[in-house]
Amino acid sequence: MAADFKITASKVNVHYGEAHAIKDVDVNIESNAVTAFIGPSGCGKSTFLRCLNRMNDTIDICRVSGEILLDGLDIYQKKVDPVNLRARVGMVFQKPNPFPKSIYDNVAYGPRIHGLAKDKAELDQIVEQSLRRAALWNEAKDRLDQPGTGLSGGQQQRLCIARAVATAPEVLLMDEPCSALDPIATAQVEELIDELRASYSVVIVTHSMQQAARVSQKTAFFHLGHLLEFGETSKIFTNPDHEKTQQYITGRFG
């Protein structure tokens, strides 16, 4: 039964043209938990993450097979609208990418296109709530009409998180959300991830093993397109089962 799991993926394979990027990956993403994907560059962790909200659809040569269920619904069915899917499964990218619009409009964009607010007052409320959740409200409340691109890097990333949570997604995918941030902004985002866990399932791809260890409850180790090991974060970082996991997390040649 998939009852405890938000996302159940089985026998997922991804090809980019001839290249076989993901090989028979089975993984279950828990509700209200942070799952970290780790592994060396090119291991397929970002590719797999992008399967979870069909971001790979935008790449012509990319073929995805297997089954990915979100609350039991096969997200690759013809009748599923990828835009609606991405409102349920939000995403934050490596580089902060605010729209060239005001801070307010950045956050209000999603709720507007999905018709989530019936009037201006409700939209205002969603914007404030989202900015608060992303720990940006105090810094941004007096400059909501200014461009989002005028914020510092760390603030921009938190703005992108606010934008992602504004559509009230059920799952939040984060692809190296802190790699362009300084340690303080990183700590703020990590604190935020921990808070978001109360209402969402969070899946984070990170190259920082310390970050994976700090923020996640479950960790998946990818290697050459395979999911080599998946388990409790505390176990993976203290006593992993797989030799390759051990070598990777301890910083040895594999």
Binding site: F237, T238, N239, Q246, Q247, I249, T250, G251, R252, G254
Partner: protein, 238 residues
């Protein structure tokens, strides 16, 4: 052979910690050996020397603690590396305690040397030798990460416990036969107890070896000699 770290300085740091443990282990073993010799040979000079040297073990433990903390802060070891650093910290403090117990044996030797020799001393030194062998094997197992040897050492602590109990009985009999020896036999009782404690510390080192190699604790079903009841007054069986 485990692959090396990509950052070679990390390997150097871990090697330095291992080297410090080996050095401490060597000195602790030597102190124990000397304390047994001082007891057997009634050598007060050697006993004094043991008491002086103990400070070196204390300093070595402090230095190792410093290195271990630095590695944790600067290198953030994970998995087996982390276990190795944590185990080194615990083994170092165990070795320091073994040193303290050897020093205590030396102090009691100084007191014992002020009176006539007791026959029972030979049983005590035999126990001492046995403990010393076990400690040497435990340290070897730790150094080369020999899990099988560690488990063997762990299981053999029961022999120490049995010898300890039998010497305890012997000393009690001795004291009953000649109450004038009670003062000195009491000193020896403490020596015997110290050796038994060192045996326990030795099994702990074996447990740490297992923890480092396997990533889990050696289960707590070590064979124990549990005949304390028969040592209680009025319960002697022979």
């Amino acid at each position: 052979m485990r692959p090396k770290h990509i950052v070679t300085a990390f390997d150097a740091d871990l090697r330095a910690i291992s080297a410090r443990i080996s050095e401490m282990g060597g000195l602790a073993e030597e102190q124990l050996g000397s304390s047994i010799e001082a007891l057997r040979e009634r050598d007060s000079e050697l006993a004094e020397e043991i008491i002086r040297v103990d400070k070196r073990l204390d300093n070595m433990e402090m230095r190792l603690e410093q290195s271990a903390i630095e590695v944790m802060a600067l290198r953030q070891p994970m998995a087996d590396d982390l276990r190795e650093v944590v185990a080194a910290l615990k083994v170092a403090s165990t070795l320091e305690r073994i040193g303290d117990l050897a020093k205590n044996i030396a102090k009691r030797t100084l007191v014992l040397n002020q009176s006539e020799p007791l026959r029972v001393v030979s049983s005590v030194t035999r126990l001492g030798k046995q403990v010393q062998t076990l400690l040497a094997e435990a340290l070897d197992a730790y150094t080369v990460r020999d899990k099988a040897l560690a488990v063997a050492v762990w299981k053999r602590d029961v022999e120490i416990d049995e010898m300890h109990n039998s010497i305890f009985r012997e000393l009690t009999t001795y004291m009953m036969e000649d109450p004038r020896t009670i003062g000195h036999c009491s000193q020896l009782l403490f020596v015997v107890k110290n050796l038994e404690r060192i045996g326990d510390h030795t099994t702990f080192i074996a447990e740490m070896t297992y923890f480092v190699t396997e990533g889990r604790q050696l289960s707590d079903d070590r064979p124990k000699s549990n005949d304390w009841d028969e040592l209680k007054p009025g319960n002697e069986q022979d």
